[in-house]
């Protein structure tokens, strides 16, 4: 065989290649999307039963934001737990690690993939949630603004979730372990996003205090956590 010439590709190209691999794989099997989608739908059904007696006189607008985020957190948890299954199964992670590339590229590509999958599920789940619980109510005109906390929250959850599922892929009882780490670490983000989402749904007058402020804090959380994970990822993935 003739000698092969190799020129190290740019970091961005490697990022695109890795992300492309995840997307191609997912769109072929639709494994994560189907399981997350079905799970989200089931949670909505369970809500239906749980709220059956109270739905008529319950202030669903006030609770909607919280319920929506419960749905998102648990659905994401399910997806994140699966996100490294393929990497682990055939030792692919080691194959990737033996390529000369910066470890943080692996983190960024995986975070992007998880972020996109979670968004796709939200695009289906949020209208469903609206259809089942809120279509009978008078929704505030500010409702569309829930997109912002959804984006900010999902980004942070994808970042910290990717980091934590890299850790838990090598532990016993992976799924439980991921939940045990994931929930306390995203708690601040969740708190901020629920507040902002509820405000958007209700359209209250304290817009700065209850919408802008939580979002600024949530963005701060995203930036700090993504940076910390980005720096520490090398240690985790090489261990």
């Amino acid at each position: 065989m003739a000698r092969v010439s190799v020129t190290k590709p740019s970091t961005f190209q490697q990022y695109k290649t890795l992300l492309g691999k995840d997307l191609r794989q997912e769109f072929r099997t639709r494994e994560m999307l189907t399981s997350m989608g079905i799970y989200a739908f089931l949670v909505i059904i369970v809500y239906g039963a749980a709220l059956a007696l109270t739905a008529r006189n319950l202030d669903i607008m006030r609770m909607g934001g919280g319920l929506l985020w419960v749905l998102i957190v648990f659905t994401s948890l399910l997806g994140l737990a699966r996100s490294f299954a393929h990497e682990k199964e055939q030792g692919c992670m080691e194959g990737i690690l033996m390529v000369p590339l910066d470890r943080s590229v692996v983190f960024l590509a995986k975070t992007t993939a998880n972020f996109l999958f979670m968004l796709v599920v939200e695009v289906i789940a949020v209208p469903l949630f609206y259809f089942f619980f809120m279509s009978a109510e008078q929704v505030a005109p500010s409702f569309v603004w829930i997109v912002v906390p959804l984006l900010v929250g999902t980004l942070g959850m994808a970042g910290i979730g990717t980091m934590l599922s890299t850790i838990t892929m090598n532990t016993r009882a992976k799924d439980v372990m991921l939940a045990v780490l994931f929930i306390p670490f995203i708690y601040p983000l969740l708190y901020a996003c629920v507040t902002a989402t509820t405000t958007a749904i209700m359209g209250t007058e304290f817009w700065i205090d209850f919408f802008v402020m939580p979002l600024v804090l949530a963005c701060g959380y995203d930036v700090v956590m993504l940076l910390v994970c980005w720096v520490l990822y090398d240690f985790v993935v090489s261990a």
Partner: protein
């Protein structure tokens, strides 16, 4: 380090100088904490010099003597909470040392600092909860400080669950180091977020107009006492862990 069959194996060291001050530190800590306990009841006056025999007006709020007495918990609650956070800072510091040097010793340090943190976080939760019960009349409320400490407690517990779930010692050390560093970053954010987002549901903590000198003195005494106790416990535990490691090393050496 093999020299033709005879080898010099490095054995984990134990018994450095801090071990000599461990016992005095523990004793001093206990004495100071006890002194602080007595001071809290006999020296530090109730808030704003209120008397105990009847309900008093403190900062426009009527408070009962029960509330005034329950305020004494504060003298232990705050120092314990601060010590638990200091322990967390040490855990993260040793975690960074571990990640840069890869010496098992620092992992042990980090783990034990976490254990101390857990102990004090649990104390914080207990004292805090007692106070909440008397002051606000509820066992639990999602108040920023309570929430933050609940989350901190969950993270510290998760840390130990994680340690148990990883078999390879080096991998376990790396993972737990990373988690303790993220924890140190996460906890202040958690505090800030729960604090800065206003909420009509949460009772607002009444500001009772700073600490008087006698109160401050009591807090300082208890604080120093608790720090010394924490340090003493840390060293004792560290010494025990090191001796264990040392014994394992010697056993292995004998097997060869």
């Amino acid at each position: 380090m093999v020299n033709k069959g005879k080898k010099v194996v490095k054995v984990p060291e134990a018994g450095q100088w801090p071990d000599k001050v461990t016992l005095p530190a523990l004793i001093a800590g206990t004495v100071l904490t006890t002194a602080g306990f007595l001071m809290a009841f006999f020296y530090a006056a109730p808030v704003n010099g209120a008397a105990l025999d009847a309900p008093e007006l403190v900062g426009d709020v009527m408070v009962t003597h029960q509330q005034l007495l329950s305020q004494k918990i504060f003298y232990f609650h705050m120092p314990v909470a601060i010590v638990s956070f200091v322990a967390l800072v040490f855990a993260a510091y040793y975690a960074i040392r571990f990640l840069t040097t890869r010496e098992q010793r620092f992992d042990t340090c980090s783990r034990i600092a976490m254990e101390i943190s857990l102990l004090f976080v649990v104390f914080t939760m207990i004292t805090g909860d007692l106070w909440t019960r008397f002051e606000w009349g509820v066992w639990w409320t999602w108040e920023p400080r309570l929430t933050t400490y609940l989350i901190l407690m969950l993270i510290v517990i998760a840390y130990f669950v994680l340690r148990n779930a990883v078999d390879d010692p080096e991998r376990r050390a790396v993972y737990s180091s990373v988690v303790s560093i993220i924890a140190l970053v996460d906890v202040p954010i958690c505090f800030m977020i729960t604090r800065l987002i206003p909420s009509s549901i949460h009772p607002v903590v009444a500001r009772e107009g700073g600490m008087s000198p006698d109160m401050a003195a009591t807090v300082v005494v208890v604080m120093i006492g608790m720090m010394l106790v924490a340090f003493g416990l840390y060293r004792l535990r560290f010494r025990q862990a090191r001796l264990q490691e040392r014994m394992d090393a010697l056993k292995e050496q004998l097997e060869d």
